[in-house]
Structure formats: C-alpha cells, structure tokens
C-alpha cells in the first residue's frame, strides 16, 4: 500500500498537524519508504497468534477507594495544574471561542 498527497493531508488533519503543500510533498516519499519497508510483516504467518499488548504479564491493581489516596495524584492541585498553561483565566484553561 502507498499513500498519495491527499492521503497524507488527511492523516495530518487527523493528527492535528498543519502542513503546507511543500511539507506534504516532502512527506509522501518518506512515508512511502517506511510503509513499503514495514509491509514485509505480511510475510509472517501469524495464524492463531494473539496480538501482544503487554509484554510482561501483569494485572491491573485496584487502589484503595479513598479520596486523595495518593496526595501527588489526588485533587486540590488547581494551581499546580494551571501553572504551565499558556493561558489560564479565572482558575481555568483559556481557549479560543469554540461556539459562534
């Protein structure tokens, strides 16, 4: 499979990365080179093989059902959370208007 400029533009839009025409033109052969190379995985017989998501067997733990069980990741951190925001207003993240 290979991608054309329109496909790369669609992917870039899905990934929310603005790309002009020149950037798209440049990216098409680069992505195709990589995609053609990974295509060799199609040769591998994977019938009956379960896809691996977690490499070391582990089970998800439940934490204590307690508010702020871990103070580092609990609540009450508004100032810390907003400290690095490009625009923080009235204790919230500021964003451009999203409704007309």
């Amino acid at each position: 499979m290979s991608v054309d400029k329109a496909t790369v533009a669609k992917i870039a839009s899905l990934a929310r990365i603005r790309m002009d025409d020149a950037a798209l033109e440049r990216m098409v052969p680069e992505l195709n080179g990589i995609l053609q190379w990974v295509e060799q995985l199609g040769e591998v017989d994977t019938a009956g093989v379960e896809p691996m998501a977690a490499v070391i067997p582990n089970t998800l733990r439940l934490r204590e059902d307690v508010v702020d069980a871990d103070p580092l990741t609990g609540g009450g951190k508004r100032e810390d959370v907003l400290a690095n925001a490009p625009a923080a207003e009235h204790g919230f993240f500021g964003v451009p208007k999203v409704i007309e």
Binding site: I11, A15, L35, Q40, E50, V55
Partner: protein, 493 residues
C-alpha cells in the same frame, strides 16, 4: 589529590563515606567540568546549585553520623525526559520549551532520596525519537570521541546521547537514560560506556515524558558494570502510580555481582549474523564468546527466527503509541501555544503542533496515525502486535537452552553527524540488534568491548530472562574484567 572527575559512582560514594573527600568537593569538580564542556552540547540546562545542595545534605548527614544512601555524594546527569520539580523539562522539543513541572518523576526522586544530586538536564533526540542525537530542538550533541585522523563531529548515539556524551567525557560519573528501542544501549556502545535497560516495569514510568508506553524503560548509564548495578538499584522499585510497575522486590544487584559463570550457558543467536555488519563488530563478538568461555560459561547456538521482523514491527508499534501519547500536546495545558489571529480551537491545535514538533516527531505521529486509522488497523497494527508476540516467544524458547544471550549492540561504530540523514530508514536500521529485546521487555545491557581501527568504541550486548538483571550484569562484569577497556576520548572541548 586525585582528579575527582575521573571517578565513577562506586568510588565517589565510597570515598565520600570514608572521608577521603567531601561530596561538595565532588559536586564542585563536576560542575566545573560541565561548565567547560559547552561544546559537547550535552546539557540543555545545568543545575549546579542542585548538585551542591544535595552534596551539602550528604556531607551534613555524614558529619551527624547518619546512614548514607547508596548514591550518596554522586552528582549525576538527568536525561531531559524526566520531570524535575522546578527545573525545565523539554524532551528536547520546542513544544515543551519552558515547561517547568511542579512534581518530580518517581525515578529522579528515588535517586535524590539515595543521596544523588543533579548536574543538569541532558540533551536527547526530540521525544527520544532518534538514534544519533540530531533531532533535538536544542541542537545536536557531539560525541567526545573523534575518528582517528579526522576532526569530524561524531554522533554520541541516541536517544540518550547527552547522557552517553557526558559520561564518556567524564563531565558526569553517571546519567539516567531511557530505552524504547535501544536508546540506552546504542549510545552506550557508541561512546565506550555501560548502560542497562532493566525488565519492562522495573523502573516506574511516572513522570517520564511518554514516547511508546509499552516499551519505555528507564535505566542507568555509567562507566562500569558495578556503577550500573548500584544506580539501577536506586532507580528501580514498585510504584503504585504506574499501572505497569512490577510489584516485586528489587534484589541487591550490587552485592550479588559475580563474574564466575561456571554452569551458565550463553546463547549466540545465529540470526544476528546480518549483512551490513562491520567486520570489526563480528570479530568483537567472537572475542566476547572467548571471554565468556574463559569465565566458565558454555557457549551454545540459539535461534531467534523472527529477528528480521522485529524492527519493522517496532516501527509500527512505537509510532502508533507515540501518536496517541503525543496527542496531549495541544497548546492548552502546558508548553507552546501558536494561536494565529482569528482562528478557532482546531486550527490552534494544528498550528501549535506544526510549530512545536520537529520533522522526525511529525513523521512518526503521521505513521502512527495512519496505521491506527480505520481500514488499516488490522493490516498494520494488529499484525505488528502478533509479530511482537512471536519475537517474544523466540526469546522464551531460546532461554530454555541458555541463561543469557550475547550479541553485538550495534551493526556499526559511531558515524559522523549528518552522514546518515538521507533516508530515515538508514538511521532506523542502526537499532536492528537492540529492538528485539525491547519488544520482548527483557533486561539488556551494553558493555564496551574494544576500539576499532578508527579508534572508536564497540559494544557487546547481553540479553537476559525476564527479571534476571543479575544474570545480565554478571555476564557484563565477566566481559568487563577480560576486555580491560581503558580507552577514553582525548579532551578537545
């Protein structure tokens, strides 16, 4: 007095404990060495005050007769992928420039608790995506090594290239690294130092800027196997804040170091004999076998039949996870915001990410987005996950016949900066020997073996069973004792 910057972790820790020198003297020496080495561009920011404050705490604790931590008095470099409270953390990207965490990553906190101090935040490939340290927004890192008869700037490897350059140049006794597909081992091999990636889950990922969460693991980089054992002991341990953290005891790797390999079997994977591998690397591999045999081990042939598919599988799995992880950089919560006049939220996201991410990061996000998109998910992503399962099964079967695997770390020695940028694939291939162990989550280490005809270091790689960091370290120690690697870069910076 000895030049304190020539000392490693163990010698510094033991010297401070004995009173041969103070932790402050050590920190002062390394701070000065860091300040002199700006030409390497190994650090994005330096934090001499952090190193001094930690040293003073250790000196005070010693004066008060208190017990000292396992890294007491050792100033280290911190890869700029670890969130450090009050100190800029960028992942070497423009999109996080100026980001100053209000919290400390678990691994860095454990190191400070063990008595280490921070010399600064080390440069790396942007978001740890790269194998040469040429994708950082803050400029390339230059290796302290030079090719014989050439003045070309050499690559320190990547992504932990600031770490490898700093440790090889003796401006830090040790540094943290992270390894997603070879990012500790390959730079260690390129610069003649040691580096170990533990079993996936040993070190908490909490507070480490995420690249590919099912692969990312932190580990130490230092100039000896002993130093790596000490530092890994300080970094590892269960953390409830990381859902994939291993809930198991951390052995005392330092105390159990033992290079007597009698009764151990070392596997030699025949598929690692690949075209394009330097002759000198193949010879060092042969030499490595002889050293381990001399240490008492039996050498056996093993097969890892899916080796050639590991790298392409990695270049689907890692970008897929990256495209998801990096969705958080949106210009809203932290970092850069690019808000062109009069545009709405969606255009702000797109403009911010266009301005904030470098080319390699964009390339991987696009690949990841594509392989996860409707209609392609099964053909690419699911197939790659199945191949990953087969790569892991290959190792499991091989470990029925051997205790540890010996292979080269890289197919080539370091190369000049700028010489491998024609095609992204050429660079990817440098991780061909490192990626399989990452996909399988196994502990793996690179130790320096020799220097080639150009005067550049070559590394050997050891891969162990899950949770058997000890077996890896022990085999590494056996090589270290026999290789007698003492070469170091001549100071030009």
């Amino acid at each position: 007095m000895t030049d304190l910057t020539s000392l490693g972790v163990k010698d510094i820790r033991d010297g401070v404990a004995k009173g041969d020198f103070t932790a402050r003297e050590v920190a002062t020496s390394f701070n000065a060495a860091v300040a002199e080495a700006a030409h390497l561009n190994a650090f994005i920011v330096t934090t001499p005050d952090h190193a001094l404050a930690a040293a003073d705490k250790v000196d005070a604790a010693r004066a008060a007769g208190e017990a000292l931590g396992r890294m007491a008095g050792v100033p280290i470099g911190m890869k700029d992928l670890f969130a450090t409270n009050g100190v800029q953390t960028t992942a070497a990207s423009h999109i996080l420039e100026g980001f100053t965490p209000r919290y400390e990553s678990t691994v860095s906190q454990k190191l400070w608790d063990a008595g280490a101090g921070m010399l600064g935040k080390l440069n790396l490939d942007q978001f740890a995506m790269g194998s040469s340290n040429e994708t950082s927004f803050f400029g390339n890192v230059t290796s302290p090594w030079k090719k014989a008869g050439s003045n070309a700037a050499m690559s320190p490897g990547g992504s932990s290239g600031g770490s490898s350059a700093a440790v090889a140049a003796r401006i830090a006794p040790a540094a943290t690294g992270t390894d997603t597909g070879g990012s500790i081992r390959q730079p260690a091999a390129f610069t003649g130092i040691c580096g170990i990636k533990p079993t996936y889950g040993r070190c908490s990922r909490w507070g480490i800027v995420a690249f590919a969460s099912s692969l990312d693991q932190a580990g130490p980089m230092a100039r000896s196997v002993e130093d790596c054992a000490i530092m890994l002991g300080a970094m590892a341990g269960f953390d409830p804040k990381d859902a994939t953290s291993l809930q198991m005891d951390v052995p005392d790797w330092e105390a159990a170091l033992n290079s007597d390999l009698r009764g151990k079997k070392v596997g030699i994977p025949r598929e690692y004999r690949m075209e394009g591998t330097d002759q000198a690397i193949l010879e060092s591999w042969e030499q490595g076998k002889a050293w381990l045999r001399d240490a008492g081990a039996e050498i056996v042939d093993v097969s890892l039949p899916h080796t050639k598919y590991a790298l392409p599988a990695y270049y689907i799995v890692a970008p897929a996870e990256a495209s998801s992880n990096l969705a958080r950089y949106d210009g809203v919560r932290y970092g850069l915001r690019d808000l062109p006049e009069g545009v709405g939220l969606q255009d702000m996201y797109a403009a911010t990410r266009a301005a904030g991410f470098g080319d390699e990061v964009k390339r991987r996000i696009l690949i990841g987005t594509y392989v996860l998109s409707a209609g392609f998910y099964d053909a690419y992503y699911t197939q790659a996950q199945k191949v990953r399962a087969l790569v892991a099964r290959d190792f499991a079967l091989a470990f029925e016949q051997c205790d540890v695997i010996l292979a080269p770390t890289t197919p080539t020695a370091s190369f000049p900066l700028g010489s491998m940028n024609e095609d992204p694939l050429t660079m990817y291939l440098n991780d061909v020997f490192a990626v399989p162990a990452s996909l399988a989550g196994l502990p793996a280490m690179s130790v320096p073996a020799t220097i080639n005809a150009d005067g550049l270091p070559l590394g050997l790689q050891l891969v162990g069973k899950p949770f058997d960091e000890q077996g890896v370290l022990n085999a590494g120690l056996a090589i270290q004792q026999r290789a007698g690697f003492t070469a170091k870069p001549e100071k030009w910076w």
